[in-house]
Amino acid sequence: MRRLGKYLEGRKLMAALMILVGGGNAAAQTGGWLLVRNAIDHGIVAGNEHHLAVVVAIYLVVAAAGWVLQAILIRGLATIGQAIVIGLRRDLFDHLTGLSLRYFSQQKAGWIIARLTSDVDAVSDTLSQGMPTLVSNVILLPTAVAALLIADWRLGLISFAVLPPALVLSRWFQRVSHAANIEQRNRIAAVTAQIAESVAGMAIVQAFNRERRFQAEFDELNDANRVQATYVQRIFSTFFPSIEFLGVLAMGIVLYFGAHLYQHGTLTIGTLITAIYLLQLVFQPLQELSDVYGQLQSAGAAMVKIASILDEEPEVRDRPGAKPLPRLAGDLDLDSLVFAYGKEPVLHGVSFRVPPGGCFALVGESGHGKSTLARLIGRHYDPDEGAVRVDGIDVRDVQLRSYRRQLGVVLQDPFLFSGTIASNIRFAKPDATDAEVAQAAAAVGVDRVAARLSGGLEHEVREGGAGLSAGERQLISIARALLADPRILVLDEATSNIDRPTEVLIERALDRLLKGRTSIIIAHRLSTVRRADEILVVEHGRIVQRGTEEELLAQEGQFRRLAHTLDGGEPELLAAG
């Protein structure tokens, strides 16, 4: 909760004001009843109609003031609460986007997203719905108790006889209902997960005749949820009528002793009557506070999980005094890189240097370190030993963003954001004009893809690019890289997964993209690799062969074996071709 305090910065005055307003609101509620007492004793019982009229008028003014104060309180608390929530959400998101890829590969996406959404929502709900209840009742409860004591301290003390059982009951309710609600949420989450999984995988459920099994699993979960929901209802059905019962009991006690005191002439009838109603103002906050207790608990638990992300240190960050990188010529130097994800190094001293505008290809089986090299070049990780230098400058010595903006990446499974095709191309250069976007699209053949779709470049891409083929998505991501106009390019398996006719289009797009830039190509297809000035064969985290295609094919070694499989050709098919 201390973390939340920092978002109050600049709103402390408003928060203090809201506490005052809450106090005013509580005073209006309890004060109203004290006025009623005055009206009974000095108006009705005394037979003074004028006094009665005056007090009733004051009472109405007080009620109107309470009305206004409560309205201010609701708005004010919501404003403060949302300021905290938005601050928290933004900080969390900003922090998260600065964390390294290692964090994202270790934590499940669903887990991270839940922190940003359901956990922040839990805090938000508490602040927007729970807060007004909490603030007004926390103030109202002692105010009502005080008013009861002011009305008559003896009566007040006596009526508090029922407070201990009421407090014990509330405590019980808070404890039990909180645990029960958590279990209820778990069970409904299990039901939801079951339905979601069945619906998403219905093709397989039906194809493998799994309907009955899934129905049985569902019935079990649905039933468990129903049982828990019933249990929760029993707790609620017990608590609220109990408090109601205690309220009547307290009233009976007040009537009994009040009648005595009244008979002895030490208590006015007005006080006796008003005490009955003031008692309700004591019991009502007790119920409402019990109700928000669970919410507070959940918000606390959510905050703990949120904090676990905020406490995560970004692995790759700018050194103090890091300078922005000037526009690069494109000299890329990998110097004796050693890197391990865990204990076992995946790179054992890899070195090579690509001259400005040069194109190197990395080939080798998966899991031997090619993609790790790409990530070190992109500075998603820093090497354990050695250095990545661009134009002779260690990338750790410059501002990360200024470096990455001169870097282009095309991945095997290009990620498209929801939005239009144009906005996806513009992603890497948000200030690009429509003409520039169209030019980039035309240069790599995205214009032809877009022509088939409704809206052309303004066609809405659904999340993740569903509805477009892998090849089409790849073309868009190449246009994106082209528009960014990077000095250094990394293509990681950019042509896998694509049918041959589309691949031809992509190859052409790549030629366009690579021109005049330093590039590293990781590929399985010989046709993609062939354009490189030099081919490096990576095996077990080392470079085992390097040279041009002809040189390597002429050598006995790993490349020849790879070249065979690179094209996936059976010997007889090769002969046939």
Partner: protein, 594 residues
Amino acid sequence: MPPYVNPVDPPDLGLLPTFVRLLRIWRTQWKMGVFGLSCSFGYTLISIAIPFLIQQAIDYSIDTTHHQHRKPLWPYLAAIAGLAALRFVINFNRRYATARIGVRIEARMRELLYQAYLGYPRAFFDRHATGQVLSRATNDLYPIRYFIGWGLVQGIQSVMMIVAATIVLVLVDARLALYTAVAMPPITVLALRFARRVSPISRQVQARKGDVTESADEAVVGIEMVQAFGREDDIRERFGEKAEGVRSTVLRQAGVEARHLPGLYYLPALSIAAVVFFGGRAVIGGQLTLGQFVLFETLLLQLVWPLEAIGWILDLAQRALASAGRSFAWLEGIEPLPEPERPRHLPEPPAPLGVRFERVAFAYGGEKDVLRDLDLVVEPGEIVAVCGPTGAGKTSLLNLLPRFYDPTEGRVLVGGVDTRDVPIAELRASVALVTQRPILFSVPLRENLTAGREDADWEEVLAACEAAGVDSFGANLPEGYDTLIGERGVNLSGGQRQRVALARALVTGARVVVLDDPLSAVDTFTERRLVARLRPALESRTVLVATQRLSTVEIADRAVVLEDGRIVESGSPSELLRAGGPFSTLFGDEVIAA
């Protein structure tokens, strides 16, 4: 046979038919319903009796200005305590009974919907997003639960309370009752108005929260892209906008609350003031006793909640009916895939089954034909690769075999029998499928593998794993084959998932195997190893495999090329490569390159 037509998006049911259906469901719980209503009646009587006893106590044993004889106080207090205890019991039972009805009906509706989902044709799932289908069986049910489990009985109880309290007040002093009821109509109106305004806004808040989720989801999944281009600032700005959207909607909601809630809270003060002023004058004038004054005050305060509740319940009823109308429309308007009227059976195993497509045309619900006049014969035990550019209709063709769809014209025969004449379960048990995007369930790997045949011999499963290349990673998972797969367990890579799906299909022992681009996410080296191992595992089965890769085509005896919904070429892969036709355009470069 006429093509099977089934509406998959029926219109929502109207208010009245929905209400009738809800009542019908409620009737299954009628005993508990009647019990709840009786409790409500008792609750109302006691809630009127207690203030009445207080009045008697004040008038006859506390303030004795109007009576010479003072009665003892304790009998009144004992009666009040007794009634309060009784009311506790009744109140508990009413709440618990009605809530249980709601919970049961919610569970029942969910069960009906889920059961229906399992039988719905694929066209239904094409038409409706997963989120929509999901929320119909979860969030959409809550208004129904609260309306049935609380609203109905609470509404009736509120009316009883209002009627009873009005009768008592009128009997005591009709004119005063009229004056003091001044705040009551505005309370009802305000409550109803509040309910009407706040529920659409709270739905908007949910929708805005959904936007935040989507934006967060995108950023987290696409983080590599974001960081690679150094675009953190843009994505933060985008996220900030969505977060701002939540904030402004929540603040609008707070605005609506600020305009209504304090009113509901302070409007009763008008009535209290009226009682104090007019009632007070009547007491001074001797027409009213102090006890009656208190009775008025108490009963009026007791009326506030039932009046507010009516406002809430009216709104709740509307939402419940709307959401139930949607659910009933699905339950009644969509039929599962029909079983044949006169079922015929497939030839007994182990005879291999041939597959034949006869003049097949197919279109997705009213759109233009994806397959046209297509003829294809796959001999028993033959492996046929279906090739063609993206969008040629490969997946549509394969989906006809397990009857995910029926052809719009022509027919599909398995083992010489029209698929529409075979009992669905029998057909699907004979056709094993590997979908383009592998679908695995969040259960241990072992259960995923045996999903198609639970009693499979473990040796056979391991053999299938070896053929499909699951053996290379399966045993190395944290808990081997017992490792839980999915979000809550281990996330497998795309290629690994495909291999598990492939092994699962092999385990079934089905005589027809349908593979839709089964190795697209497997790297080329692994693919080559798998193709060699798969061939013997598919021995004596009839196989249709759609693929984009020449290396996968090599598994087949014959390849056919699909273009614009027709088969344009057929023959052995090496023949086709030489022929220089569409097939060699698709794959030629891949070979010539070497």
